[in-house]
Amino acid sequence: MAYGSKVIDHFEKPRNVGSLDIKDSSVGTGIVGAPECGDVMKLQIKVNPDTNVIEDAKFKTFGCGSAIASSSLATEWVKGKNIDEALAITNTQIVEELSLPPVKIHCSVLAEDAIKAAIGDYKRKMNHVDSTSIASHSANG
C-alpha cells in the first residue's frame, strides 16, 4: 500500500522515541496492544504535578508504519497540553492528520488508548493507589 506523506515523515523521523523513568512518580506509562496482534505501543508522559501540564512525552512502538506514525504524532500532540486537554485527543483526529486508510484505523485507536492509559497511570500514581502494577510491566491500559 502507498503511504501518506505525513505517515512517511513520522516513520522516517519519529518524534520523541525513547523512555522515561518508569519509577518516577510524575511519569505515567501506558502500554497497549499485544505482540500477537502485531502492534504494541508504549507511551510515557512526564507531568508537572503543580500545573498538570505534560512537559515531556516519549514512545516506543512495535508495529507497522502507521502505528509508529500514530504514536509519534500522539507524543507530539500531548506535549505542552494539560492532562484534560490530552484526554480530549481522539483517534479520528489522528486518522485525519495522517490520512490513514480504513485498514489502519486501529493504529489510531491504539494511540488514543495509549494516551489514556498513560494519563490513567499517572493519576493512579498521584493517588498513591497502586504503583506496583506499572513496575511489573502490566500492559492493562
Partner: protein, 422 residues
C-alpha cells in the same frame, strides 16, 4: 521478423538490464521476463498473429506450430508427452481445473479429497468451494519446517478418496515436500495425485514419472516468462486421467480448456522453460551461494533472527526470516530500496498473519516479524551486499523503537505479560 535488441540467448542473463533504484528480491511473487524470452514472443503479436485454431490458412498453421513447439519444450522439462500438456491462463486456473475437474469427473467413485494447510489459496479456496458442494476435504498439517508428512497422507486415505493435492515447494518458506513418496502412496491406492509445482519448476528437477504425479500445475511468470499463461500436465497413461472442463466453448485443448490460445504467451512460456532447463544447474548453485551469504550475514550482524522453513530441503532462492521484536510491514517500509514481502498481517487485507507460518507452529508474534527474500536470475552480489547493509540498519533502527526489544533486553519474559488484546 521484428528484431528487438540483441540479447544473449545462450546465457539468458540480461547484462543489459540496468540496475533500477529499487532492487528486486521478490522472485517468488513474479519474475521479470528474460529478454531472450521477449525476443521470441514479439513476432507473434504483429507478424505471425494467427489463431492456432484456424485450420485453413497459413496464419493459423504458423501459430499452431509455435504452440506445439512450446508444448514440446514444456513436456520435455517434466518428462511428459506433449499430448499431456494443456495451456491455461496461469497456475490458478491450472489448480482450479485439476481439482474441480477431478472432483466432478470422479464423483461417482468418491467424495474425499486430501490436501494441506500450506497450499496456495488457488488450491485451498477451490477445496473449500468443493466442501460446499458435498465433498469432504482433509487439510493435512505440516511439521515445524512446513513439510507434509507422508504418514499423514497415508492415514488420511479412505475408500472415498479420489484426489490428493500437495504442493511441490512452498511459495513462502521454500520447503520442498516429499512428493515422490506421497506419489507412491497415491499410486498404490489408485488415487489421482496433483501437485502445484509453480515454485519448484526451474529451481529443482521435476519429472512426472519420478514423482509419480498425475496432474501438475506450472506458471510462466515464475520462470522469467510472461504473466497470464500457465499449463496443466494431465497423465494419459497408467492411469489415463480425465477431467471435466471448467471453461466451456470451442473445444480447444482437447475439450479440457476452451478459449483461443494466448500464442505469444505460450511461445514465451516455451522459451522460458527451455532456458530454465538449461540454466538450472548453474543458476540454482549460484543463487544458493548468494542466499546463504545473505542468511549468514544477517545472522552474524543481528541477534534473535530465526529461519522459517527447512534448513536444507528448501528452494535455493528462498530465505524467510523472522526478525524478533520488529514488525514486518514497518521493516519493509524502512527498506524502500528493496522489494521483498512479509508474512505480517499488515501486508494482507485480512489482517491475519501468514497461514503458512502459523501452520508450522510459529507464534503470531514471529509471523508478524517475518520477511521473505526471493532471489532470482538477475540478482547480483552487489544487490545482496546492499540488502544486507540496509536490512541490518533497518532492523537495528526499529528495535531501538521497539518496546518489546527493550523489555526483552531488560529480561522480561514477554509471554508472562498480560497484554491487552484489540
Amino acid at each position: 521478423m521484428i528484431n528487438t535488441k540483441s540479447s544473449n540467448l545462450n546465457s539468458g542473463k540480461a547484462q543489459e538490464l540496468k540496475p533500477s533504484k529499487t532492487i528486486y528480491l521478490d522472485n517468488h511473487a513474479t519474475t521479470p521476463v528474460d529478454p531472450a524470452v521477449l525476443d521470441e514472443m514479439i513476432p507473434y503479436f504483429t507478424q505471425t498473429f494467427g489463431n492456432a485454431a484456424s485450420r485453413n490458412h497459413r496464419f493459423g498453421w504458423t501459430a499452431e506450430e509455435a504452440v506445439e513447439k512450446a508444448r514440446l519444450q514444456i513436456a520435455q522439462m517434466i518428462g511428459a508427452n506433449p499430448k499431456e500438456i494443456i495451456f491455461t491462463s496461469g497456475a490458478t486456473e491450472s489448480n482450479n481445473l485439476a481439482i474441480r475437474g477431478v472432483a466432478e469427473m470422479y464423483r461417482s467413485k468418491g467424495n474425499h479429497i486430501i490436501t494441506t494447510v500450506i497450499e496456495h489459496k488457488a488450491v485451498i479456496d477451490t477445496a473449500k468451494y468443493l466442501e460446499t458442494q458435498g465433498f469432504e476435504i482433509t487439510f493435512l498439517p505440516v511439521d515445524k519446517f512446513g513439510m507434509v508428512r507422508p504418514e499423514d497422507v497415508k492415514n488420511a486415505i479412505t475408500d472415498k478418496t479420489i484426489l490428493i493435492s500437495v504442493m511441490t515447494a512452498n511459495n513462502e518458506i521454500g520447503t520442498i515436500n516429499p512428493i515422490a513418496e506421497i506419489g507412491a502412496l497415491a499410486k498404490e491406492r489408485g488415487i489421482i495425485f496433483h501437485t502445484d509445482a509453480v515454485q519448484a519448476i526451474g529451481r529443482i528437477p521435476v519429472n512426472v514419472d519420478d514423482l509419480k504425479v498425475d496432474l501438475l500445475s506450472i506458471s510462466a511468470h515464475k520462470i522469467y516468462g510472461p504473466k497470464g499463461v500457465g499449463a496443466l500436465y494431465i497423465r494419459r497413461k497408467n492411469p489415463r486421467v480425465r477431467l471435466s472442463p471448467i471453461i466451456f466453448g470451442g473445444g480447444h485443448e482437447r475439450g479440457m480448456r476452451s478459449g483461443t490460445l494466448n500464442v505469444p504467451g505460450i511461445v514465451g512460456f516455451g522459451k522460458a522453460i527451455e532456458l530454465a532447463a538449461k540454466l538450472m544447474p548453474e543458476e540454482s548453485k549460484r543463487l544458493q551461494k548468494m542466499r546463504d551469504r545473505l542468511h549468514e550475514a544477517l545472522m552474524a550482524q543481528l541477534d534473535e533472527v530465526t529461519l522459517n522453513g527447512h534448513p536444507e530441503k528448501r528452494l535455493s532462492n528462498n530465505l524467510n526470516l523472522s526478525f524478533a521484536y520488529v514488525e514486518g510491514e514497518a521493516l519493509m517500509m524502512a527498506i524502500p530500496e528493496i522489494a521483498v514481502s512479509s508474512g505480517s498481517a499488515c501486508t494482507s487485507a485480512s489482517l491475519e498473519p501468514s497461514y503458512v507460518l502459523k501452520a508450522m507452529g510459529i507464534g503470531e508474534d514471529l509471523a508478524h516479524s517475518s520477511l521473505r527474500f526471493g532471489l532470482g536470475r538477475f540478482t547480483t552480489e552487489e544487490e545482496i551486499n546492499f540488502a544486507i547493509e540496509k536490512t541490518v540498519a533497518a532492523v537495528k533502527k526499529l528495535r531501538e523503537m521497539s518496546p518489546l526489544y527493550e523489555m526483552a533486553k531488560e529480561g522480561i519474559d514477554l509471554k508472562s505479560v498480560q497484554w491487552t488484546a484489540h
